[in-house]
């Protein structure tokens, strides 16, 4: 009935994580000094395979890679070119035409012997039975990789080739890309193409200043959280205007607040949002879900106390702090606003509390102490 799992049982940990074999040790000895090898062996011996199997987790900290790799193979597209430390030949020169031709044909023959053309092509062959290869891969490889320089002791082999050229990392889907990666404005200007999502050009300046595309901007979480009327008493009478305070965040660690004042409600709100997006800054998050310990901040008469909470607790706060936590991507948080509860100052105090968190690593370095995150190191983030 499919109720029994027929998957083969997992091999024991000692098979998953084997100690170095003699061959591997010989290979290591080529690369490392005996002292380093002893250190490596001590390190390997310190962790039992069972513990590694049960508690080992893939690194997610700042120094980790964004892809899986154990560095056994050199991948020409991802990895940096290994430095060439061989001494430079003083007599190196570019080959003459004849030498180039010989070098190419020799290299081509060698490649052909190593990678013979597929058998299908042999069945299709016409004319010269030796030369026919529909993929012509060997030909192109020989063209790129055959030696071109003649040294004292014969041809100098050329280094590894990067087969794939640099591919652009990010392509705008907007259709009118205004700002290049390095921040220079490209020749197409914003006025000529009007995006239907932003017909009034509210975000034009922001896009030019920050290099964000409209997709990026609409992907952000931005919201006007405080708005009220303010009056300026002049000799002409009361001049009324509108005040807006907006928050913006990417739900993944960036948060900003922006203020604006103006006569018209719509413009002012949009301006406040733009200011909030422009002011976005990274806030420290513990495990990308809560804050580092408890923080307090005071703005005017408003005191805000934010408290870190365990996983699954949720954001149990008043609505202003809730909105900010949601925009910043904080998932576990508790808060208290014990004194005055002015909305504007609550938002400002929360922002300043989030920004002034004490990072345990910094505290440890200030005191000259070693610090270990027990949750992560001993319990693999499982408690």
């Amino acid at each position: 009935m499919g109720l029994i799992d027929k998957k083969p049982p997992k091999p024991p940990a000692s098979e998953l994580f084997r100690p170095y074999s003699d061959e591997e040790k010989a290979l290591l000895a080529k690369k490392y000094t005996p002292e380093q090898i002893r250190a490596i062996e001590a390190g390997e011996g310190a962790i039992r395979p069972e513990e590694l199997d049960q508690q080992g987790v893939i690194r997610t900290d700042i120094g980790s890679l964004s892809y899986l790799d154990d560095f056994r193979h050199y991948r020409s597209v991802i990895d940096k070119k290994p430095p060439d430390n061989t001494p430079v030949d003083p007599n190196a020169r570019f080959m003459t035409e004849d030498e180039l031709a010989t070098s190419f044909s020799e290299y081509y023959d060698k490649l052909k012997k190593e990678n013979p053309p597929p058998p299908v092509s042999r069945a299709m062959r016409e004319g010269d039975p030796e030369e026919f290869d529909p993929t012509r891969l060997n030909f192109w490889r020989a063209d790129l990789e055959s030696p071109r320089y003649m040294g004292t002791n014969g041809p100098i082999p050329s280094g590894p080739n990067l087969f794939a050229p640099a591919i652009p990392k990010k392509i705008s889907i907007d259709g009118n890309k205004m700002v290049a990666e390095n921040g220079t404005v490209m020749e197409e200007d914003s006025q000529s193409v009007v995006d239907p999502r932003d017909p009034d050009g509210i975000y034009d300046r922001l896009r030019k200043q920050t290099g964000l595309t409209l997709d990026d901007i609409f992907g952000l979480e931005s919201k006007v959280v405080v708005q009220h009327q303010v009056t300026n008493q002049t000799r002409l009478g009361r001049v009324r205007s509108m005040y807006c305070l907006a928050i913006a965040g990417n739900k993944n660690g960036l948060l900003g607040i922006g203020q604006a004042k103006g006569q018209e409600a719509g413009n002012t709100m949009a301006l406040a949002k733009v200011n909030a997006i422009r002011n976005m800054k990274p806030i420290p998050r513990y495990e990308e879900r809560t804050i580092y310990g408890d923080v307090e901040a005071k703005v005017s008469a408003v005191k805000v106390k934010l408290m870190a909470r365990p996983p699954g607790f949720g954001v149990r706060c008043q609505y202003l702090i809730f909105e900010m936590a949601r925009a910043a991507g904080i998932h576990d948080l508790a808060a208290r606003v014990p004194r005055s509860r002015n909305k504007m100052n609550t938002v400002k105090a929360t922002y300043s509390a989030l920004m002034k968190q004490r990072i345990p690593d910094e505290v440890a370095r200030g005191r000259g102490k070693k610090l270990v995150d027990v949750r992560k190191v001993y319990y693999a983030g499982l408690v």
Binding site: G293, D294, R358, G366, G368
Partner: protein
């Protein structure tokens, strides 16, 4: 065991840190000395040296041998403290008394364990801020609350430091 003078030290160290002083001095007593040595052990202070009314030379702080305390000079002895700063911020930024001269608070290991784990015990708030330390006066000397829990010793709560 005058808690008034310990309270003075608390405010003095906060003030000195806010003023970004590198070296400051407090009156020398045995209680002060053991508290400040515990602070140095935790890394809040760079040096604790007994000296006279003038500070010892900074160059030979490591090899400095203080004058013996005698009846004639005991009143002028002071403890010279080196303050630490990191990333433009003082390492010791807050120091507050828990026991007061008029209301001393003692706590057993169970209560201290609660505090160290971040929850409240009695009227004393837990250590919830990163790097917060609490110093306890025990019959084995003054030590940090985490040490107390490890060694299963209770005592009188002196001050919390951040």
């Amino acid at each position: 065991m005058s808690l008034v003078n310990v309270a003075h030290i608390c405010s003095h160290l906060q003030n000195a840190s806010k003023a970004r002083l590198g070296l400051t001095s407090v009156p020398s007593t045995n209680l002060h000395l053991s508290l400040l040595l515990a602070l140095q052990q935790s890394g809040f202070l760079s040096s604790v040296t007994r000296g006279g009314l003038t500070p010892p030379q900074i160059e030979d702080l490591s090899s400095y041998v203080p004058d013996p305390v005698t009846q004639s000079n005991v009143a002028t002895r002071r403890l010279w403290l080196g303050l630490k700063y990191w990333n433009n911020e003082p390492v010791l930024s807050e120091m507050k008394m828990i026991s007061k001269p008029t209301r001393r608070i003692w706590m057993d290991v169970e209560g201290l364990g609660k505090i160290v784990r971040g929850s409240k015990a009695g009227y004393v708030q837990g250590l919830t801020k990163p790097g917060e330390c609490l110093y306890v006066s025990t019959d084995k000397g003054i030590m940090e609350s985490r040490d107390c829990v490890e060694r299963k010793i209770g005592g009188m709560l002196l001050c919390r430091v951040l």
